[in-house]
Each structure stands twice: as structure tokens, then as C-alpha cells.
Assembly symmetry: C2
């Protein structure tokens, strides 16, 4: 009799966002007259910008003609997209990253989940706490995380690096050396970030210890402060210790379009083996490239028109972030994030738990957010609101919260 | 110091199609006056049909308007697509498959490579030989295949089931019981298939032994004979032993569009665990759904217009298959496949090896095919030609081969 991968059974049953969805559905059914405003899930609401739409229509037309039809894409991405990424996201910022170090994919979630495959199963991962659940869950599935304690909400073989108001949401270097370190700045869920100088300390630490940093920079388009790095490769020596994962979801509204990329520098070698060659092999074996039409959409993100249009779109969401941040502060809440990220992280008032605050906010203001405890034990007592709603809904939600 | 996944280093270095590409490039450079015709890689050449193109344009326009914009897709696929798949591909053929047993993905290659993750690392896989390389390579990466013998071109911990002219390309039930059995019918690379009655024997064997069949039905649209199953679920009891993987690449020309799906019946349980629930968890954790625009393109494949247009497209390729099959037979070659599949599998003449024939055909006819040995040891002495070229090129290639 065939056996299954037992590691899957170790995962706690209920997924954060499905629990939220159930609670909201129950509330809506019991209160059909109440208009619920959702500032919970990090999904965008603004339409694709005209430059992207035009590029997609053109690409669809190309696919309709045998002379311009495109079959299998190169596994690693079309050169037209890899070139413009290398230039604008890296070389123009002074980072020495070449187009053949960029691997185009169907999104940062896939890459975040799959990247652990190229590492040994024996190593230990380190994550900031709270954290995007995919990093830990994908390692649980691979069998690296040990056992789960429902009481502590932690895995026995994971190094947690708390990020709380006590340390200004800046993780400390771990005492025990991990094999892989997951970092995400600007951070989901806290909306906070660290300075380029602080990030340099992580790069130096990884080079000193041999650890590899998986750097999730999905929110870099939202950075407004000058001393925050848009890429880890702005730090000296990052090419020998870091893999960077990027997304088109939040900077270009591609959550339903699906495009991302991962940078694996050729200088990144462990045990004499090139991680670039391994990731290329993984792509070649288990992936067949992102769709031509969508890679053309990605290229349009880097066009002059696309950049101008998307700058406005990011500004639109950041205006929402300011509405939330200022509105909550005026109402007496302790608020973090929202300056370099579309997420606002608030301390629940009166020592309420994250879920107590969720229930209270839903019941009294009819506003949906995300309980911080869903992102890890150090998220307990915090709550996430996102800036991805419409301006009107965001204003209305804050007016309700202020009226409580 | 972090260690890498050592299993990757076990994979033989050179990938079949990159070796072919290098040989062809070298030939073209040395013979700039010769026009090379490529009947090697299984990539389509006909453009997307009008019904699909129209659906994509409509979907792009929806994404351009906030009122009809689509963000994150459901992880498992939109209901509009899952419903029509369940009805037309399964229920209309008498298979009791429901829409919530269908998982939409970005293609059969990803699913073929990823499906092994939900199984224990301790089990042994069985594959037909020759075979699509992804099944074995993805299991090598997971550490299930033991060691590679370059001499035998086999892995020590894999059960090979030869499919040659001696057994009519019908694999025999393995003597040792495997955990997973990979079957692909109509077959890539041989272009041959088995009858529904023969497939029923595999289903009965799997149910008897507890093995799970991964059934790759990527070429079902090319079936012309009535006693060949389009789905393994046409066989009684398949819902308790089989996972079926399907593609839009060959029936709708989506190689560069990227769409596929996998069926995991709810009745498929091993060790008390639902494989359906495990695959859903894998999708939810490491995947973010296929693009909205492309799922709408997939829906159009099932529309009345789409079906009619694609029937013509498949007929176009099968006309090429007939040209190849009849042309080779007339020239005295021993030929298989091409009746229920777009692949023709020929026995190399005069006991030439697969690569010797490759070199000879390239040098003398300037035609590129795929050496059978690249698909496994039992492919030695065979050669694959595909029907995915243009009609003119296919005719020209056969005229050259006949003139040798």
C-alpha cells in the first residue's frame, strides 16, 4: 500500500483566511442590513493600467496569427522581459545583476514555496515572527520543521525571530545559525521595514556563517524613505548569500494576472554547487515558463507609460494607507507600518487578543481585518489592515472605527 | 554552512532537447545553404483559434475596468471552467467526476512534476520505458530513484516497464508492486496506445495492490479509435486508484498560453488520508491559481465555436501524422503511432542507434527528429517525429526522406 507524505498531516487544519471568510459569511447572514467593508486580504482592487492592457491585446493578436504565434516559452523567461528587469530593477540601482540571473515565473507565491526544494532537508530555517505563512508551510511539507505545538503556535525545528514594538520590528541575528533565513522587507504583515544599513548586517552575517537569505521584496514599489533598500543586492556581498523574490502583484496589480521573478546570482555557491544551476534545473524539469501574453504585460510595466501609470496606482493605495494610519492614530490607536508598505499594523487596544479585536471590529464597525496572531505567535495582540480597498470604502471604514 | 539538495547532482548533465539544439545549430552554421525542417520537439505551430482569441480579448477588457477586474483567482480554479470540464470531459463520457475534483493549473508539466510531493519519499515508482522525462526526473529530485547507471541509463530504484515492438508497446504489469505507476496514453513518445480493456487491467491491478496510477492524458483529443479510453475514469474503479493529468497544450495549442488540470477524486484515499485534500493543500500553499484571462481562454475551448474550430486544428495535425506515417511506410520504414496521437515512432533502419539515425537524417535530409534513446533505454533503436509542423514542411520533409 502506497504511503502519503506524512508531513502534510502535521499542518494545522484551518487556514487563516478561510476562518476569516467563514466568520464574515456568518456575520453577513445574521446581519443582512449591514454593509461589511473588507480591509483584510492583500488583494488589489484597481484595474490593470492602460499600457499593460494595450500590451496584452497586442500579444493576444500575435497569438492569433501563425506568423507571430508563440509556443513554448523559454523555461527561464523571454529575454525581452529579463533584460528590462535586469536593467531597471537592478543595474539602474547600481546592482550588478545580469539578465541571465533572473528567472521569470508565475508569481512570488510559487517561487517562495518552491525555492526550499534546492536545499538539503537537514537544515533549519529561520523566519521573522509574524511571517507570511508560505515560508514555513512549504518547509513543513518538506519535513524540515519538526513538530507543531498548538499551545505555542510554533514548530520545534524553526528559529523564530520576533518582530514586535519592543524591538521596533527589527529582527535580531539568531543565536543558533540557520541554513536558510527568510526575510521580507517592506514586511508583510507588519508594514514596517529596516534600513539599508540594517540589511547589510544580515548580508554580512549570512556571508560569515554560510547561511542563505531568501529575500522577499514583493512590496519594494511602496518604499518612500531614502535609506531603505529596494533590493538586497544594494548591499555589498549579497550576490554570494542571497536569493531575491519579486512580484508584479502589488506594484502592477497582477494578483489575477500571475507574474513574478526570482534572482539567483551566479556567484551564489554552496558546497561547490551553483544554486543558479540548480534553480535552472528545477525550472526546466517542473515548469514550462510564464505565458507569452503575460510576459508581454510584464514588459509593459517597465515602459515609460506603464511606469508613469503605475506610479499613480501605488500613490493611490498609499493615500489609503495614510487615511488608515492617520485615522487610527487620531482615534488613539498605536499604529505601525503604512509608510513604506500598503499594510498597517495596529496594537489591539486594552490587551484584547487579535481574534477578540477581529470579532469586535466586525460586530461594531462591520470592518474586516486580519488578526495578527494568524501570522505567528508574536503577532498576537496586533491586527493588520490593508490599503488595497477603494478610497471611499477606506474612508468609510475609518469613519466607523473613529465613531466607536 | 548550508547544504544543497544532493539529489539534483545525481541527474545526468545534458538534457535531450538541449543536445539536439546544439547539434542542429552546429549543422546550420556549417551548412548555411541547407534549409532544416524541425519535426523534433512537440510544440504546436497553428495559431489560437478565433473563439479563444475573442475570449481572451474580452477578459483583458474586463481586467481594465475596476467593476469587472479580477484579483486573486480561487486556488483550485474558477467554477466556470471547472464546471465545463467536469461536464464535457467527464460526465458526458459517463465518468462520475465532479467539478470540485478538478484542480486547474498552469499546465500538465507542472502538475506532472509536483504530484509526487504528496506521496511518501520511501515508495518506488514504475514507469513505462521509453517515457516523458519529467516523471522520473521529478522523483530523482525528491530522492526516490536511487542511483543512476550511465551504462544502463536506468535508476536503481525505479521499475521500468518496457514498451517495444516485441510487446506491441503494451506494458506488462510489474512483478514488484510499485507505490506510484505513471501511465501516459496515447503515449508520448511512442504515439501508441492501449485499449480500454487493457487500461481496465491496470485499474484493477492498482486497486488490488494499493498502488496509485498517475494517468497523463495530454493527447486524448487525438484519439480516433473507439475502443480507446479518453479518460481513465471510463474504467470501473478508477476513482479509488487514479489521478488524471490533462493539458490544453495539444488539443487547443496552449503550449505558450499555459493551462492544464488534474483530477483527484474524493474517493482516492491512502492510509486513511484523502489525496484530494492533500493536493488542495499543496495548491493553496504553493500556487496562486491560473490567470483569469487564461481560464477564460480555457472556457472558450469548450464553447460550441471553440470545439468546432479545434476539431479542425486537431484534424490538421493528424493529416500531417498521416503524411509522415504513410510516407515512411512507403519508403520501407517500420512505423508505429500516428493513429491516436500526433507522434510517429519509427524503428531505425539497419540497426542504427537512435543518435546515429538522428545524425544521418540531419546530414542527408536536413530533417530534425528526436532520438528514442533520449526517452529511456527501451527507446534505443527508435526515433520520434511529430505532426506539429506546417503541412508544407511536413510534406517536404517526407519527400526528402523518401528520396534518400
Amino acid at each position: 500500500m502506497v504511503q502519503v507524505n506524512d508531513n502534510y498531516q502535521k499542518l494545522p487544519g484551518s487556514y487563516l483566511f478561510s476562518t476569516i471568510a467563514k466568520k464574515v459569511a456568518a456575520f453577513a447572514e445574521a446581519n443582512p442590513d449591514k454593509e461589511v467593508i473588507r480591509l483584510g486580504i492583500g488583494d488589489v482592487t484597481q484595474p490593470l493600467v492602460p499600457a499593460v492592457v494595450a500590451a496584452m491585446h497586442r500579444a493576444v493578436d500575435e497569438m492569433a496569427d501563425a506568423a507571430t504565434f508563440h509556443g513554448y516559452a523559454p523555461d527561464l523567461g523571454y529575454e525581452f522581459l529579463r533584460s528590462v528587469i535586469a536593467k531597471q530593477d537592478y543595474q539602474d540601482r547600481g546592482c550588478d545583476i545580469q539578465k541571465d540571473e533572473i528567472f521569470v515565473s508565475d508569481g512570488a507565491k510559487s517561487d517562495s514555496g518552491n525555492i526550499q526544494e534546492i536545499f538539503s532537508n537537514d537544515l533549519k530555517i529561520a523566519v521573522t515572527d509574524p511571517v507570511y505563512p508560505v515560508y514555513v508551510d512549504s518547509n513543513v511539507m518538506a519535513g524540515r520543521c519538526g513538530e507543531y505545538s498548538a499551545k505555542e503556535q510554533t514548530w520545534s525545528n524553526v528559529i523564530y525571530m520576533p518582530c514586535t514594538r519592543e524591538n521596533g520590528f527589527v529582527p535580531e541575528l539568531p543565536k543558533e545559525t540557520p541554513g536558510i533565513i527568510y526575510l521580507c522587507f517592506p514586511n508583510n504583515p507588519t508594514g514596517t521595514t529596516i534600513t539599508k544599513a540594517q540589511l547589510q548586517e544580515w548580508v554580512d552575517y549570512a556571508n560569515r556563517t554560510g547561511a542563505v537569505i531568501i529575500y522577499d521584496a514583493a512590496y519594494e514599489a511602496y518604499i518612500t524613505e531614502p535609506d531603505v533598500a529596494h533590493s538586497i543586492y544594494e548591499c555589498a556581498g549579497a550576490d554570494t548569500c542571497a536569493i531575491e523574490i519579486r512580484s508584479f502583484s502589488k506594484n502592477a496589480g497582477f494578483t489575477g494576472v500571475r507574474l513574478g521573478f526570482t534572482v539567483v546570482p551566479k556567484a551564489l555557491v554552496r558546497g561547490g554547487v551553483s544554486l543558479h544551476a540548480m534553480w535552472a534545473r528545477r525550472h526546466g524539469t517542473k515548469y514550462n515558463g510564464a505565458p507569452y501574453i503575460i510576459q508581454r504585460a510584464g514588459e509593459a510595466v517597465y515602459s515609460k507609460e506603464g511606469r508613469a501609470q503605475l506610479k499613480e496606482q501605488v500613490a493611490f493605495y498609499m493615500k489609503n494607507a495614510a487615511v488608515i494610519k492617520e485615522g487610527l492614530s487620531a482615534a488613539g490607536y498605536e499604529v505601525y507600518g503604512g509608510v513604506n508598505a500598503p499594510y498597517i499594523w495596529l496594537k489591539t487596544p486594552g490587551n484584547m487578543s487579535s481574534w477578540e479585536f477581529f470579532d469586535d471590529l466586525l460586530a461594531r464597525a462591520n470592518v474586516v481585518g486580519t488578526p495578527g496572531s494568524g501570522f505567528g505567535p508574536s503577532g498576537e495582540g496586533y491586527f493588520r489592515l490593508t490599503a488595497f480597498g477603494s478610497y471611499e470604502n477606506t474612508k468609510a471604514a475609518l469613519a466607523r472605527i473613529q465613531a466607536l
